[in-house]
Each structure stands twice: as C-alpha cells, then as structure tokens.
C-alpha cells in the first residue's frame, strides 16, 4: 500500500520548521511530508501528489496567509479533493469563526497557535487509523 501524504502550509518559516520537526520526529517515514510556504504552492503540490497518485491524509494550513486566507485555501483544496482533511493552525481566529468553519465542513479541525505537539500528533494518529479502517474495513 502507498504511503499517505501530509502537506503543511505556513508562510512563517519558523512555524513551518516547527511543524516539520514535530511531524518527522513523531512519524519518521510513516508518511510522505510536503511543505509549502504559501497557499499557491501548496495547491501545486497537491496537484503533483495527485499526479503521482499519492493520497493525501491531511493538509495543515495557517489561516492568515499572503494571497488568500485559510478558508479560501481550504475551499480550493476541497474543489480538487472532495473529501480532503484540513487542519487549520491559527494565531488569530475567534472560536466562533472556527466552529463555523467546522460546522460548514470546510475544515476538519481548528487548532490555536501555539499548539500542543501531543494534541497535534494524537489527532494525526487517530485520523490515520480512521482512514486505514475505511480503506481496509476488514482488517
């Protein structure tokens, strides 16, 4: 079975580095990791992954980004991959706005920056398990 991919998008290099450190340390080679420092590039990466027939487990995205917001980005991602899972990591979004985005099923989850590493990892683990169950219900 092919590895699943996780794509992280953040315009702040230090944030992206932090995410990278946390993901690679915890999951090592379990997933394919891709990083983009702006949403446009992220969309390109998604296209590439699709071409390479690599399934996307999760997109981790900042909210305030140059060019478009996390919401706009999420909608664009969903237009490419209908059931894409999107996690927003944000430093300035109200709880209401977050709940609203989740309710509308635009994003799967919103996490506030600074985020807790263990919660992020837990979330990815559970998501991964769910996806595996769906893909191999008999196992």
């Amino acid at each position: 079975m092919n590895k699943l991919a996780i794509l992280a998008v953040d315009d702040e290099k230090i944030i992206l580095d932090s995410i990278k450190i946390q993901l690679e340390k915890n999951f090592n080679h379990k997933f394919i990791f891709d990083y983009a420092d702006n949403p446009e590039e992220a969309l390109e990466v998604i296209d590439e992954l699709t071409q390479e027939d690599i399934s996307l487990l999760l997109v981790i995205s900042d909210y305030m980004m140059p060019g478009m917001t996390g919401e706009e980005f999420a909608i664009k991602v969903k237009s490419k991959i209908k059931n894409a899972n999107i996690l927003i990591l944000t430093g300035h979004m109200s709880e209401e706005k977050g709940l609203d985005l989740m309710k509308k099923n635009i994003v799967l989850k919103v996490m506030q920056k600074p985020w807790r590493e263990d919660l992020l990892i837990d979330f990815i683990n559970k998501l991964s398990e769910n996806v595996e169950e769906q893909n191999n219900p008999n196992r």
Partner: protein, 981 residues
Amino acid sequence: MELEITQPLFPDNEHERLKALSNYNIISNEIEAEFDEIVKLAANICETPIGLITFVDADKQWLKSKIGVSINQTERSVSFCTHAILNPHEIMIVDDAREDARFANNPLVKGDPNIVFYAGMPLVDESGYALGTLCTIDNKPRKLTQNQIEAIKILSKQVVNMLHLRLKNAQLTESRKRLTDSINFSSPYYLLLDNHDQILSFGINFQKSMPEVEVGKSFSTYFNWQSVFNASSLLSDKDKHEKLLFFESLDRTKKFKCTVRKNDEDSYFIFAVPVINTLYTIANYNINITNFPRQDYIAEYLFLQQSATRGLEDFQKLNKSISDKNKKLEEAKNTLIKANSTLEERINAGVQKIKNLALFPEQNPNPVVEIGIANSDFIYVNPSARRLMGCNEDNVDLAKIKKHLQINDDVLNQKNSSKIEIEINHQIFERNVFFNEQFNSIRFYLHDITQIKAKEKEEKLKTALFRKKQETLNRIRKISDELSLQEKFKLICKALAQVIKCDRCSIWLLNEEMNSITTNHVYLLEQDTFVDGIEIKYETAPKYFKSLERKSPLLIYNTLSNEAIVELSDNYLIPLNIMSMLNMPLLQSEDTIGLICCEFLEVQDEFSADTIAFCASVSDIIVLAYETEGLKESQQELEIKNKLLKENMDQIINMQSEIIDREKLATLGMLIAGIAHEINSPLGAIKASNDFLHRIFIDSFITSIKNLTPETIKAGLGLFALLDYKLVANTTRDIRMFQKELLAKLNQSFPALENKVFYANVLMELGLQNKSEQYEDYINHPDKRNIFYFTQQLVDISKSVNTISLAVNRAGAVVKALNTFSHGSVDYEIGSFNLHDSFSSVITLLWNKIKYSAYIENTIPKEINITGNADELSQVWTNIINNALQASDNKCMISIEYAEDANNHIISISNNGPAIPEDIIPKIFDAFFSTKKRGEGTGLGLNIIKKIIEKHQGNIVCHSNSSKTTFLISLPKVLNENSVA
C-alpha cells in the same frame, strides 16, 4: 316843529318778522289780562312808573299792555323798542335818554311822557323773530340791578310763551269751529251722548228732523233702540262698536240707522242717517245688509264715519294740546311768581339781616364784642357773647373777655388785625376784627368754626391713617428678600393687623392640587404674638373653597349668618370667637393662590373702601413676594443646574483627555491582534524547537553518540562543518527542487545507495546540493549511514537553535516596537527621537497586516531626529498607515518620504489605495467623522491626529486623487516649549 331824531335801522329779517307778527294776530286794542299782569310785575320789579308790552309793526308800534300811559300806539319812528329789537337777545337799557344821541330829540323824551330811563327786552319767538319788547320806562334816570335785569329777561320769555299759547288757542278755536262745521256738513244727523245716554249736543239736520230734541234730555225720551241693549254698553265691546244699529222715534214715524263711536271716556257719538220707506228685518241683532234697498246710504254712511273719525281725532288732539299748554303755562307762571317772591324775600331778608347785624349786634347770633380804643372802659358785649363768656349785661368782666378773646393793646391799636382762632368753652371761633369809626372802637366778631375744625381734624386723622397705610405698604414692600416667604408673611400680617385693627391676621396659601389651604402663622393683635397656623382641607369645607374661586374680596360682617363659611363654624369660628371676617384673595394673574384673612372678634358694621383697598394693595405685595420666592427657587435651581453643568463640563473635559487616551488604547487594541500573532509565532517556534532539542538530546542524540565510533563522530562533524547557510534552500519550492535534483544525481552516481531521499535531505539541509565533490567521500564511507544520521541530528540541533534565535529576535523586535510605540512612560515627555526608527517600529507592529499583500517603503533618512512626544507621533504614523491598509483591504503601496525646509520637517505618507471622495476630505479631521462600519472606528482617529499635530505646532493636510492619497505633515524643527502642554 321839525324833530331831529335818529331813525332806527330795521332788523335783517324785517320782512319775515312782520309776517310772523301778523300770524300772532295780536295787534288789537283788546285788553288781555295775562299780559297786563306781566307788565305790572315788570314795572314793580324795576320800580318804574311805566311798563309796556309793545309790538313793532311795519310803521307803528303797538302798545299791547301798558301801565302808566294811556296811548295805544306810537309811530315806529319815535319808538324806543324798534331800537331794542335790533339785538334780539339782549336787553336795551337807556339810563338817561336826554344824554343819548339816539333819543335826545325824541318827542317822547322832550314831551309827554318825558322818557328818561328805558329798559326793553325783545320778545323773541320760537323762530327767532323779535316781535316787540317788554319794557319799563321812567321819567328820571335810574340803574337796574342784575336781579332786576334777570327778572325782565324771564318775564319777556314768559310773554313769548303766552303769545305762543294765545296763537295755539286761536288755532284751536278755529279748528273746533271747522270740526263742528265739518260734522254738521258731513253728518247731518249726529247726537253726542254721555255715558248715561243723556244728550250733550246734536247736529243741525237732526234738529230739523226732530225739532223737539233738547240738550240735557235722555236719548230714551225720544228714541227706541231696535235692539235689546243700548249703545253705550256696546261701546265697551271693541268688536261691536262699529256695528250698524237702528233706532226710531217713540212714535215710530222716523227711523234711523247709525253707528256709535266713542268720543272720550264720558261721551259718545251716534252718527245717524234717516231710513225712509225702507223695509228691513232684524233677527237676533244681526242685520242682513243685503236687505237694505239703498246701497248708496251705506256708502254715505261709511264716508261720514271716516270723516267724522278724522275730525274727532283732530279735535281731541287739539284739546289735549291746549290743556297741556294751559297747564304748563300755569305752572310756569306759578314758578315765576314764586321765584320772584322768594328772590325778593331773600334779598330783603339778606339786606335786612346785614343792616340788623351791623346796626344791632344785639340780634347777631354770633358773639360780638366791641371795645373802645381810647377808653378801654367802653365795652359792648352782645347776648351771644355774654352767654358764651358767662357774664351778664350789668357785670362785664373786661379782663376776662380780653383774655378770652386774646385782646391786647396791640390789637386795639392796630385797628386792622388779621383774624385768628381762639378757643372758648371748648368751642373754636374765628376772631374777626373791625374798626368802628363812629365810636372809635374795635368790634370783634366771633364766628363759630368748631364744626369746621372738627371736620378738619377728622380729615387730618383720615389723612394720617392714609399716610400710615402708605407707610405700612412701603415698609412691607421693602421687607428684605433675604427673609423666607413665611418670615415675610409674618411681618406683613403684623403690619396689616396693626393698621386695620383686626384681631387675627393670617396669610393662607392654596396647594397645587387646590384641595387644601394652609397658614403657617396667625398674628394676634392684642397679644402681639403669632400662634401656629392650621390647614383646611377641601373635604371639610367645599363651600368655602368654592368661595375662594371668586376674584373679589369676601366681606363677612357676621360669621354666624354667612353661608360661605358655615362649614368652618363649629371647628374654627365659634371656638375662636371670630365674628367678622375680611378675606382678600391673592391673585397671581387670574388664579387665586391664596388669601389674606383678617378676622375680628366683634361684629363689624362696615369694611371701609379704604380698608379693602389697603388689603388689596397688601395682597399685591404678598403675591409679589410669593412670585419673588418662586423666582428665588428657580434661581437656586438654576444655580444647582449651573453647578451640575459645570461639573458635567469638567467631566467632559476629563473625558476628552480620557478619550484621547482611549484612542491610543484603541490603536493599540487594533495592533494587539497582529502583535499577538507576531509574538505567538516565534513562541510556537521556540517551543517546538526547544521540545525537539530536548528530545533529541535526551532520547536520541546522547544515546546515539554513545554508540558511535570516534571516527564516525569525526566524519559526521566533518560533514556538518560543510554546512553553508547561504546555500540552504529558503523556500519549500527550492527545497523540493533541490531534493529532486539531488535524488537524480544520487541515482546517477550511486545507483546502489539505499534510502536516497534521506541522504538527499541531509545534503540539502547542509546546502551541499551542488557540491558533489565535497559529499561523495561521505557517501562512499562505509559507515555512511551513521555519519549522515549523526550529521542530520547536528543539523537539526543547529536549525532548532537557529530557529529559536530567529524567533527570539522576532519577539524582541515586536516588544521593542511596542515599547517605542507606548514609550512605557506615564508622564508626557517631549524629547528628540529618530524619525526612521519611529516609523520602523510602527511598521513592525503593523507587519502582520502589511506582510501579506502590502508593500511599504520607509525612505526616511536614518539620521533625521525630530523633537516631540514620541508616543503621540507614533500614534499618528500608526493611524495614517493603518487607515491606508484598512481602506485598501491591506493591498496597497505605502510610501513614507521626508523633506524639509528651513524651519520644518515635512513628512509625507502616501498610498495608492482608493481615493478619499472629494466631498468628505474637508470633514475627515472632524470629531466623530467615520466612514468605517460601526464598531470598527471611533471616528476620533484623524481628529485626534490633527490635535496632536497642532499640539506640536505643526499642521496636517490631506490630498487625494485616484492615483494617490497623501497626508502631508509639517512639524517645526524647533518647538516653542511653553506652548506644548
């Protein structure tokens, strides 16, 4: 003998005058007693031997009535009267005709009757024509007194009245004759009967027809009515008095038809026509007129009836007018005679009295004392004086009299002392002094003026009371405004009670609901104290309250019998023994606001107009005081309000500075979201890096080092030493690109290498993607896996440390900017600061907004320092830049430029965002002007900016067009320190 006499002129209206004269038909020698009497009276009054009533005809003068002469007429040319009538309204008096040019040669003067004196008053009729005169003549000179002249004038009027009456009488006689003729002519058969049917008169034709008829006999002596009732009874019934009736002679040979008509209260006419050869029937008193064969008789009858009625009415009218005139004449005559005699009596009495009093002081009712000048023993005391001074005729005490009359030698010597007042036996006299030449004495008349004096005194008292009232009014008017209303009321009550002498005095005020009146104090006159007042409620005395509505004073002479206050009897009037009451309403414009209540313990007969007027004046003053009190209250209220206003004002001023502070906070608030993110991000990075470092060191790095050979560690350190940060990919795109290139290279150079991605990543993170000559040795190394793994750990550590360093720098920059922005100082400080750094701080704080899609260029030279409050000016930059970002949705180019002139720094902040509409540019610096949505802005931003700039003695302007919006701020290089608050 030729006579030279002066011909009189004719009156202007001579022609009409003569016509009028002839109308009176007076010129005859018939003696008329009434006129003679007047002539006699006139002669008597004037004490002349001759009196005349003359009428001046065309060329003769007729002496209608005369006394003292026998002639009936004279030629007009010699007539005195013809001169007199030239002035119809004035009496002509010739004192001495012999001396008068008009008459000196008159034969009547020169010869018989030797006229010397003449007084003639023209007789002027209603139309103003002087017909003649009433004149008196004497054959010696004389003068008439005013009274005599008046009498002649009155008498002359009387003559005219009589003339008029005479004329009317003549007219009446004429009319009466005409009437009789007319009746005789028109009604040949008439009878005049009295109410007892006795015949008073009858017509000529009737006499011819019935020669036996005589006046004085009864109707029934000759005739029979053809009906059951007589004519006179018919007359009482108005409806029937014009009915056609029938009667016949007793022998039934002559028959008459007639109507009856009332003449006066006592008599009636029967107008009849004979009925000849006629058949007629009478049934139940109703006559069937169609049975009359001779219709012409009926027409005749109707004609007769009409003319008779007319004649009768004329006759009656005349009759009445004559009797009225007669009556009036009689009255006038009586009055005249009476007046004349009274006048005479009074004149006589007066003259006599004066004579008597002067000659006979004995009879003078006033005290008279006469004292000889030379010989003061000579003394006369009249009875009145004797009575007054208690001495008798024989025993006159000169000393006592002198003392009483206050006579000293001066008085006796002076002869003409002025009058003085003296008092004897409580009587007051006016002492008049006269010198009596005859006896060389002084006569003292005493005139009793006791009553006059008493009246004067009374007047004086009244005046004094009036003055007292005025003074009281003035006094209470001046009652100080410092006093409370009730204190004023007390003073007023006391003053009022003392002036009008009421036993209890109080001032009552109605409450606003008009259902209760209250007085706080009642003044008691006798005790000169105040007692507590009471309240009267509407429920207890509705009638009394009703009476309060009246706008006029309520005067109650007896409280026991007055309806209006009966409700107050048991609980108020009777216990307090109040018998009379004067209530004066207090009227404010048209409303009763209360009343003055003056109460008396005794029944009063009358409240004088003065008292009421006084109370009314006091009531006005009370109302004024009441109004003043109201004013005072509203003034106090106003003062309180003013104070509040001032406090509010102060609050507003405080608030203003607070608002400015808040605006600063708002600016900060606006920044905080961004700033929080700016700090959060580095913090997150630091945390992640730190966690990673921690784990690497504890979990793997230290462990892995333990297991490595020194050679491997040495090789790994060698590889790590190749790290070139400058070549490390910066963007994810580069990373992916380098990764692909490296993988391709490794695939080519080391096809057998396992896990090429791992090696590629390590090499890429070292920046060695293009330096195969440097890394090939390591890939060929037998322990390459451990070397690369160790190196990667070193790179990771290095990266984390780097990240932490970067993050700390970032957070530090934000904190520094924040510090610059808020300056961290509570006090307001003016100082020199670097303009470039100031803008940089602002940009840092706004970076979170700027970084995505805006571009900002800070071209201010780094060496520029300006003077001012760094906090406030940072606020200015922040606001302007933030406005530009907000207006353009964070997508614009902002350019910050600097210029200067000799005295000013000029800072321009421009952006290429949407233009500010031209019409709102003038308003953008106004307070509370905002184009932002509610909640997004206070509308104070630019207003406060302007204030800050003005505080720095600079100015700010804004230009905007489609391509560029620029704020130009000019700040002086040198501040006038004193004016920067």
